[in-house]
Structures are given as structure tokens and as C-alpha cells.
Symmetry: C2
Subunit: 348 residues, 2 copies
DNA sequence: GTGAAAGCGCTAACAA
DNA sequence: TTGTTAGCGCTTTCAC
């Protein structure tokens, strides 16, 4: 809308001023080659003059699709997500698509509302990066034939694609790294208990332990919440144990940061007393004291994959979605070091 | 839209199935009391059954407004913004408004595109939290009579409100705190040089120095970028000086984190060798080593203020906007301590 | 209490 | 090359 006098402008108004019909205005705006250059110029001048912008509700209504993709994330406060959003939004902007973001803050009602927003806005697809997924709201999406991309549901179907993270391999790397440093007692601070995405990470951990012939101490596996608080309580519990791990794997970097905090607060040091390894490799990981060793889940690549899946869904409506895989890599920094027990013998 | 067979559903379809007219369906969806309870029930059942959601493009088109507010931020990777978004989105959801977010990553074209998105989507107002604001894109908003809320432009006009942060007071607190700890040589790592929002912070710093009778060393004022990298280079420059400050004020927490990193990397400690004070009080500030002393800019309050301003603009179209003020408070943690020079005499 | 119909701003046949 | 027109899905008078 632009304004003349006090009225909101539309293509009709532009047309009248430029002395053409609204169809021509539409053609000019959409770059049709059927318009005579001088007409184009005349119309364009009016558009610029009046700073006119076409109403997307009208085009969306007309076309039946919005060129908008929805993104649902659990917690925008976890730096991993902003970093992902940054990559994702950039891709969308470059491809003339809009983003509709919703965060659910682990509230079931917020999830409902988010899905509703996606549905009423007629998004062309939805990315669901939420960890704990309830099936009910998803059904509304599928029922309405909205292409869906999930993370780590490891399940594709008509309208739904999935991208899985190869946790087993990544965590294997981390465990191998720790073993090399002489650690044999490794703890894990994960997320909530339910049968969710978080399980893939714990299971990956257990498998890695077995693979490298390390003993699994059940009390070394603590529950967290993907936030720093979970890292703190988890670490506090670990410190309360008679027999303690010498290294801790955290379900994400925030958890690792919480663990680090508790360790220092109790007067211990990293990696002197404990090695800590995170997951995600958020931007800040390298800025911490000590810089965090962590498994990198590349956001740029994830964003590209997700976008690819979305476009696939858009173009192959009703087709069974694709299964994509993401690799992780170990970024060794300074929060992992030689195990204490392993060090002592040397200094004798 | 919901589906029957293979067709996309609309109110007409629902109406036909329920044996009513589309007008009645509309009434039911909008909770009109003019519909007989049994009719309502019958219609609602069909709606639920078919998981029907009304098309927001149609309602927006009809009503001429979208119930959407736009939010433009510079860098979603700076934790302050996600934390703000979290509060802001919550308020919007509670008030049945939608959010359209755009990040500009300090690219002029992205700013253009963002404003364009806001305009075509017919948002009912825009919040511009970007630090470095060019006037040109803003004009398009004002010209199209979109209520605008800016941060720290310190200038209101028809259609535009502003919320300013009382930097002077906050920085005064920080400087007073440092003086009390015996610091007399205080450095500052800010943001880019231009005549922008960042100036309010440097100016506040200079004024505070004067107010507390502290000397201003021009070479102690370094340029940053509101990110960790700026903190690192700024601190590196400060360390290269023959005469160094004993305390550093950073333009935001990310800058402070970068400074902290460089300090530790060079073998110094905080607050032993240098005191560091940040700005924002991001969630992670208390999790760092050492926990960061910082000026808190409360996001919840900011979100509420911004929302209030937005609603004001919506209701008092064409009126001159309001000027709001935000206070900051000093959160003393462990990155600030007694000045080195001040300590020595005591230990003699 | 419910239905018929006009119209929000835009696009795409179809006409000219 | 340009104009006319129907209609996207919804709301809202105005009838009944």
C-alpha cells in the first residue's frame, strides 16, 4: 500500500494514476515482457513515487500458496537454533520464500498454537526441529497435506521427510578420543527420559562404550534438559557419587556449559580433574574457559538439507518423503585432556 | 484447509457438509452468539472432523489488517535477541498476534528486503531493534503509515515511537562500581564508529568518567562489533598499549566474552589482572568463567514496552508516537574485583 | 437464527 | 500490447 492523500493505495489506484488498467500494473510488477517499455516505465515511476507494495494476502489467496515455510523450534534461547535460523533464513530470502517461525518453549499448548499458525497461514511446508514431538499436532499438518520435515524421528511417510543425525558415529568419535586420553569412566548428562529424540543420543553413547570396550556405569548417566541448569544438576549428581567419572559427555553445549560451571564452582578444574565434551559446537564454544571440545553439528549443512527436503515436499506433493543423514565431527579444544588417573603414574 | 477426498476444503465445503451456509460457518468460527447452539455443534463437529482451519489470507484481505507485527533485528546470533524474541513472541501469542521476524546481518540489502516483507505482508507495526539504522528503508514504512517502534533513535514523529535506554545512568553505575574497587584507568570496547546507537554508549561512558572525576584516556577507547571477535581485537589492542587500563567496559556481553577470552589466552586472569564488565546480562553471563559482572537490560520489560508502543501505534494511527525509557541495573558477579594497583599497597 | 451476495486486492484467461 | 472480468476464501450487511 502506498498513500495518496489519505487513501490506501492498490493496483487500481496505481493504474488510474498511470493511465492504464490494473492488469498492466500487475504485469509490470511481475516483470511480464508483454508490456511496452514506455508503459512499464510510466507505471514503475508511479509505483516508486508512491512506494507501493502489492498486498501479499491477495496474491496468496489467488495462488493458493504462500511461498512461506514454517519453522518450529523448541527453545530459541539455545544458541544452536539462532545459528540454524541464520543459515535457514538466508537460504529462504535468496529463494524468495518467507519464514514463519514459532517457538514452543516445551509447552504443549504452544505447539498447538504454532501448528495452527502454520495451517492458517497456508505455509508450503513445515520444519519441526522440536525434540519431544507429540504426534497429535503433526497429524493436523499431515491431514492438511502440508509437507513436513522432522529431525530424528527416523520415519518417513507420505508428506513427511526426516533428517537424522548420525549420533552413533559422532559419539563414537568422542568416546574414542576420551579413551585415548586414558579415560575409562565416562559419564553422560542427557535430556529428559521419555522415548524421544534424546534417546538416540544416550543409545549412541551406550553403543560407543560397548564398541570401545568401556564399562557402562548406569549411575553415570544423568538426566538433563538441554539447558545449563540441567548440566549443573547433572554434574552435581555426578560429583555426589562415591565413584566418579573422569570425563563427561553432555547432550548439548548448554548442558556442557552448566557442567563446567558446577565443576569450577566446586573448585575443580577442566581438563585437570574432569574432561568435558559437548554437542553442537555453538559459536561460543570456542570462547569459553576452557574452550570446549565438542561434536559439531553443522547448521549450514542442516539448513541446506532441510531446505532441500522442503522443496522436495513442495514439488512432489503426496509423495513419500526422503530420509536424509547428517554427519557430525569432533572438534577438539581444551576441555578434554589426559585422565587424572592416567596422569598420576607418569608423574611418579 | 482440510481435505475431503482430494479437494482442499473451505468454508463453503464445510457449510455444505453441515447443511448450512458459509456465513453460518464463519459465524461459528468467530464465536458469534447469533447461532443456535445445535447448529453451532453440528458445524463445529464437521470442522473438527475435517481439521479445518480458515485461510488467513482471506481474512487479512477482508479486514485490511493482518494482526501481525514485524520485528527486525541485526543479528539473531547475539543471545540478547533470542532472549528478547522469546518474551516478545510470548506476549504476541497471548494477544492473538503474529510475529514476522527478519534479521539483517548488517547487510543493507537485507534491510531493504526485510522492510519489503513487512510491507507486502501488511503488518500492523514494525519494531526495529537494529543498531545502525539507515533512514531510507524507514521512510517506506512511514510513507505507508506503518506504526514504527525504534530503539535508541531518540526521536518520535507521527507513526514512530521510540524506546531509549538510559545508558548514562547504567554506565555510571558500572564506573562507580569500578572506582570503588580502586580502578582509575578504565577502557572501553564499543562498536563501529558511525553516528549511531553505539555512540550513546560511548558518550555515556565519557560522561560517567567525568562525573566520577576519572581521567579519559582516548587510546583506551576501542572499536568493536558487538560480537566476540570485536572483544578479542579490542582487548588485543588494549594489551598492546604501554599504559594499560585495569578495567574494561564492553558495549555488550559478547564483546566482554571476547575480551575475557583474549585475557586468558594471554595468560592473565580476571579479575586478578583486569576487571571486565559487560552489557545486556545474557542468560549465559552467569555461567561464564568467571561469571560476568554486567549491566542488565531487562528483555521482558523491553518486550512489554515495545508491545505497548506497537498497540499505541495501532490504535492512534497518525498520532505522534511516544517516547519510552528503559532502565538498566548493575549485576555484580565475579569478573570485577579490586584493582591490581590498588591491591598492591595493601599487601605491603 | 440463517442465507444471499458483495467485495477485500490480486492474477490469468480471454477479448480486443 | 492492453483491458475486461471472474474468482481466490472470507466477513458482513441486508433480507428473510
Amino acid at each position: 500500500m502506498a498513500i495518496v492523500g489519505d487513501a490506501l493505495m492498490d493496483m487500481h489506484g496505481i493504474a488510474k494514476i498511470a493511465g492504464v488498467s490494473s492488469a498492466t500494473v500487475s504485469r509490470v510488477i511481475n516483470g511480464s515482457k508483454l508490456v511496452r517499455p514506455e508503459t512499464t516505465g510510466r507505471v514503475q515511476r508511479v509505483i516508486d513515487e508512491l512506494k507501493f507494495f502489492p498486498n501479499s494476502s491477495a496474491t496468496t489467496l489467488k495462488h493458493g500458496k504462500s511461498s512461506t515455510y514454517g519453522l518450529i523450534i523448541p527453545d530459541i534461547t539455545n544458541p544452536f537454533f539462532p545459528e540454524f535460523i541464520r543459515c535457514f533464513e538466508k537460504i529462504l530470502v535468496e529463494n524468495n520464500r518467507d519464514m514463519l517461525m514459532a517457538t514452543i518453549d516445551s509447552h504443549a499448548t504452544r505447539m498447538q498454537q504454532s501448528v495452527r499458525r502454520m495451517l492458517v497461514r497456508k505455509v508450503d511446508g513445515v520444519v519441526l526441529l522440536a525434540a519431544e514431538i507429540e504426534t497429535e499436532p503433526i497429524e493436523a499438518l499431515i491431514h492438511n497435506k502440508v509437507p513436513l520435515v522432522t529431525l530424528e524421528r527416523r520415519l518417513v511417510a507420505p508428506w513427511v521427510s526426516d533428517v537424522m543425525v548420525n549420533y552413533a558415529a559422532g559419539i563414537g568419535l568422542a568416546v574414542a578420543h576420551l579413551k585415548e586420553l586414558g579415560h575409562t569412566k565416562i559419564g553422560y548428562i542427557g535430556a529428559s527420559a521419555g522415548p524421544t529424540i534424546s534417546n538416540h543420543r544416550v543409545n549412541g553413547f551406550k553403543k560407543a562404550l560397548k564398541k570401545y570396550g568401556l564399562q557402562l556405569y548406569p549411575e553415570f548417566i544423568r538426566v538433563g534438559d538441554y539447558r545449563t541448569t540441567g548440566g549443573q544438576t547433572g554434574m552435581t549428581e555426578l560429583l555426589a557419587l562415591k565413584e566418579r567419572p573422569t570425563a563427561i559427555l553432555a547432550a548439548n553445549d548448554l548442558t556442557a556449559i552448566g557442567a563446567l560451571r558446577t565443576i569450577y564452582q566446586r573448585g575443580y578444574t577442566v581438563p585437570g580433574d574432569f574432561s568435558v565434551i559437548g554437542f553442537d559446537d555453538i559459536d561460543l564454544a570456542g570462547m569459553l574457559y576452557p574452550p570446549l571440545t565438542t561434536l559439531c553439528l553443522p547448521r549450514q549443512e542442516l539448513a541446506e538439507t532441510v531446505y532441500k527436503a522442503l522443496e522436495f515436499g513442495r514439488e512432489h506433493k503426496s509423495a513419500v518423503g526422503q530420509q536424509y543423514t547428517m554427519k557430525t565431527s569432533l572438534v577438539v579444544r581444551e576441555s578434554s585432556g589426559v585422565a587424572k588417573a592416567a596422569k598420576r603414574p607418569r608423574s611418579r
